[in-house]
C-alpha cells in the first residue's frame, strides 16, 4: 500500500521540483516530501528519487519494487524483555515505593555522585535546586549582558516536562556504574525521593517523607514546567506542529534570505565590537595539551595509578572513597588484602570488578588502591 502511494506521490511531487542553484550541479531538490506532499519536518530540503538518483547519489531502483522478508517474528517474552520504555502515555508497571525507601537507596547507591539531597557535585548533574515551583521561575534568567547574573536552573523538578522520564531513566540508566539493576519497587522508591527533594506536589499535596508512590498516583504528579516546551509534540498533530515550527526560521534564529539579497556590506551593527577571551580566562585544561609539533613521541612511561584512577575509578570515587579520603578508615580496618580483593572481584554494593576495566592487571589494581587510600 505504502509503495503505491509513494509512486503516485513521486509523480505528483515532480510538479514542484526546484533546481538547486550554484554548486549543487544537476542535483534535484524539493521543498516538499514526495511521499506525503508536505513541507520538510526540519525546515530543510528533500532529494527525491529522480532518474535513478537521489541528489548526487545513484540508486538501485530495483530495491523499491522488492520485498526482502528478513528476520523472524519477535516473541512476546523478547518484546517484554526489551520494550521497557515508560512515557507520559505508557505508564510504569504495577509496584510502589516510599520516600523513606528511596532515601535509603539513594544514600547507598546515588549520593556519591549526585550529592546530598540531589545537590550535585564533581560534575555530576544536580537533581534538585529546591522547591521546583519556585525554581521554575528561573527559566527566563539570562546570564547576559551581566555574566554574574543567576542563570536558569534546569533540574528534574524545575524543568523536565514529565516524571515518566525520571522513572524510565532510573530503571534503564542508573545507577551509573551498574545500570538496569533496580527492580520496579526500587525505581518507584527512588522516583518518590526525587519528588520529595524537589518539593513536588502529587494530586495537590506536597510530597512528604511518608509518601508512597504507586502506579495510580504516578499520573497525578504536578510537574511545573509541563507546558514549558515548544512546539507541542503530543497528539495526532504533534509532527505537524514540529513541521510548522521549523518552517518558520524566526523560531530558531537562522535566517532565510535570497542569495541575491544577502548582506555583503555593513553587515555588523555599528555597536558591534571585538570580544576577546578574557586575559587568563577561557577554557584551557585540554587533555592532552594542544601541540602540533611533528616529533617522535616520548617513550611510554611506567603505569600511572593516578591517571588510571581518573580513567577507571573517578566515575564513582570522586566523592565517596576518593583518593586520601577519611572514608577509607572504615574499609582498611579489615586489612588491605580485603580492600584489594574487593577491587579485583567487585562487591555486592555496586563496585564492578576492576572498576569495570578487565584490562587492568592485579598489580595495577594494587597500585591504584595504594594511591586511592593514601591519596599519594
Amino acid at each position: 500500500m505504502f509503495k503505491l502511494d509513494r509512486k503516485l506521490a513521486i509523480l505528483a511531487a515532480s510538479a514542484t521540483l526546484l533546481m538547486a542553484t550554484a554548486n549543487a550541479g544537476s542535483a534535484t531538490v524539493t521543498s516538499k516530501y514526495d511521499f506525503n506532499g508536505k513541507a520538510i519536518v526540519d525546515g530543510g530540503v528533500y532529494y527525491p528519487e529522480v532518474n535513478g538518483k537521489t541528489g548526487p547519489y545513484y540508486l538501485n531502483t530495483e530495491v523499491d519494487k522488492l520485498s526482502f522478508k528478513i528476520g523472524r517474528p519477535a516473541t512476546k517474552n523478547e518484546i517484554a524483555a526489551w520494550d521497557k520504555d515508560v512515557t507520559p502515555t505508557q505508564h510504569p508497571p504495577k509496584g510502589s515505593g516510599t520516600v523513606e525507601e528511596g532515601e535509603e537507596l539513594y544514600e547507598a547507591q546515588c549520593v556519591m555522585c549526585h550529592g546530598d539531597f540531589g545537590s550535585g557535585g564533581g560534575g555530576y548533574p544536580a537533581l534538585s535546586k529546591g522547591n521546583a515551583y519556585d525554581i521554575q521561575k528561573s527559566l527566563t534568567n539570562q546570564r547576559y549582558p551581566d555574566p554574574e547574573a543567576d542563570g536558569p536552573q534546569r533540574v528534574f523538578g524545575s524543568y523536565w516536562p514529565d516524571a515518566s522520564t525520571m522513572w524510565w531513566y532510573i530503571q534503564s540508566g542508573m545507577p551509573h556504574p551498574n545500570t538496569k539493576s533496580l527492580n520496579d519497587d526500587e525505581t518507584y522508591a527512588l522516583t518518590a525521593y526525587m519528588l520529595y527533594i524537589n518539593e513536588l506536589r502529587v494530586d495537590g499535596e506536597v510530597v512528604e517523607d511518608e509518601f508512597t508512590l504507586d502506579q495510580d498516583n504516578f499520573l497525578k504528579i504536578e510537574m511545573p514546567n509541563k507546558h514549558g516546551f515548544e512546539p507541542v509534540i503530543d497528539g495526532p498533530q504533534g509532527q505537524e506542529n514540529a513541521r510548522k515550527y521549523f518552517n518558520n526560521w524566526k523560531n530558531f534564529g537562522t535566517p532565510k534570505v535570497k542569495p541575491s539579497e544577502r548582506c555583503m556590506k555593513n553587515c555588523q551593527k555599528k555597536s558591534a565590537k571585538v570580544v576577546r577571551i578574557a586575559e587568563g580566562g577561557g577554557i584551557t585544561d585540554f587533555l592532552p595539551p594542544i601541540s602540533v609539533v611533528r616529533d617522535l613521541p616520548k617513550k611510554e612511561g611506567a603505569f600511572d595509578p593516578k591517571a588510571s584512577y581518573g580513567d577507571n575509578c573517578a566515575a564513582c570515587h570522586s566523592g565517596f572513597l576518593s583518593p586520601g579520603s577519611a572514608d577509607w578508615a572504615g574499609y582498611t580496618g579489615k586489612g588491605m588484602d580485603k580492600v584489594l580483593a574487593n577491587a579485583i572481584k567487585g562487591t555486592a554494593g555496586g563496585m564492578p570488578a576492576k572498576g569495570g576495566n578487565p584490562d587492568l592487571t592485579d598489580k595495577e589494581i594494587k597500585m591504584i588502591i595504594d594511591f586511592m587510600v593514601s591519596g599519594k
Binding site: 549543487a24 516530501y33 506525503n36 519536518v41 526540519d42 530543510g44 530540503v45 537521489t54 548526487p56 540508486l59 538501485n60 530495491v63 526482502f68 528476520g71 523472524r72 526489551w82 520494550d83 520504555d85 512515557t87 555522585c113 560534575g123 548533574p125 527559566l139 527566563t140 539570562q142 547576559y144 523536565w160 534503564s172 540508566g173 551509573h176 545500570t179 538496569k180 516546551f229 515548544e230 512546539p231 509532527q239 514540529a242 530558531f252 534564529g253 537562522t254 535566517p255 532565510k256 555588523q268 551593527k269 558591534a272 571585538v274 570580544v275 576577546r276 577571551i277 580566562g281 577554557i283 585544561d285 585540554f286 592532552p288 594542544i290 602540533v292 611533528r294 616529533d295 573517578a314 566515575a315
Partner: protein, 431 residues
Amino acid sequence: MSNKPNENSEVPSRRDFFKKAAVSVTALAGTSLFASGKDDHAIMHHPKWGQKLGDPVTKNRYGIPSAYEHNNIRRNTKLLASGNFQASIAVAPIHESEGIITPNGLFFSRSHGGTAHVDPNEYRLMINGLVDKEIVMTLDELKRYPSVTRTHFIECPANGGQEWRGPQFNSLQFAKGFMSSAEWTGVYIKTILEDLGVKKEALWMLAEGSDNSEMGRTVPMDKVWDDAMLVWGQNGEALRPEQGYPVRLLLPGWEGNLCVKWVKRLEFAAEPFYAKEETSKYTDLKPTGKAIQHFYANEVNSTVTHPSPEKPWAGQNLKKGDLVEIQGLAWSGMGTITGVDFSLDGGRTYKKASLKGLVLPKSWTRWSYMHKYDGKPLLLTTRAMDDAGYIQPTIDEETSIMGVEAVYHRNAVETWEVTKEGKVNHVQIRS
C-alpha cells in the same frame, strides 16, 4: 652481500652541518632556508630511512599513522564531562583535518555511559510497536538488505555551545571539533519498513542503544521515510566502537545525539517518548522561558580551518606579498552548501569564497580564499548558505532570538583575529 648501509655514502660536510643544525633547529624553523644561500642539510645527506631497510610488510597488519603524527589526536577537557570520562566527549582535531572525511581513529567520541564493546554474534535488532510484523534480526540478517553508501557529517548540537556568552576556547579543535565526517554504509530504514508494514497512527520512532546508558531518542516518521539509515560501515570498514559498533542510527544532518549508537531497538508509536536526553539536555531554552523540545537539524554553519589558533601564520615565514590559501569547512544539516562568503574585517564586508572538491547534501564542504599577505591585523569571518535558503546569522541576530542560555545549535558566524605577528585568536564580534 651485507645489507649494512655504506658508511661512506654521506656527503663529506654532513657531520659539521649536523652539529650546527642540531643546536639551531628553532632558528632554522624561523628563517627561510632559501634566503640563507646555504645548502639544505635535509638534501645534502642521506637520511637513515633512505639507507636502512624499512619495515617488512608483515609489520602493522592494521596500519597506524606515522609516529611523527602522534599529536594529531582527539582531546578532552574536564569541563565537558558529566563527572567522569564515560559520560563525556573527546573532540576531533579538525585543525589538522584534510578534505571532507575524518579518519576513523580521529572521529569525535561522545557517549553517556562509556564506549560499549558489543559482541557482533550476540547483536540483535528488534523492531516493534505500530508495525504489522514485530521482528528481530541478527547482524548478518540486517546486512542482507541492499546497502547504500553516503557521505555525511555527524555533529553534536553542543558544538560551539560553550560560547553563547563570549569566546571560551582559543582552539579550533574545541571551538568546532564536536563533529566529524565519514562515508557511511548501511540500509535505509524505509527499505525495512516497506517489508514490515507500518500502521497509519505511527508518528514517531524510538531508537534505543544497548549501552550502559541505554541512550534513546524520539524521531519523527517523516525523517524515517526520508533518509534515516541503520549503518554498519564507516569509511570502508566496520563502525568503530566509539561510533556504535556494530550498528548505529544515522539521521543525515540531524543532531549527533539523535544518531543513536549501539542501536538495539526501534519502536514505532503514536506519541513521542520523552526520553532521558530530551529533558535538561538537548533542549534549547529561549529567553521567553520556553524551550525547543525537539530540535532536529544542525543548521548551516562554517569555520576557517587554515589558519587556526593551533596552526597560525606566525612561524610560517610569510613575507608581504606572499599568497596564502585561507580555507575552511562549511556544512548544513538542512541541505547542500551553495556558497560561502568570506570577510577580512569581522563580517562587516563579505566577498565570495570558492567552494572546492565534492559538494554533497548534508556534508562537510571545503571552501577556499586566496589572500595576499600584508602583515596587517585581520578579522577572518566566514558565512555559509545552503540550498534550503538559510544563511548563517551574526551573533547579534542569533542571540536576539535564542538568548544566551540555549546551549545547543549555536551557528552564528565565527571570527579568528590574526595579529600583526601572525598569531590567531578566537574572538567574537557582537554588540
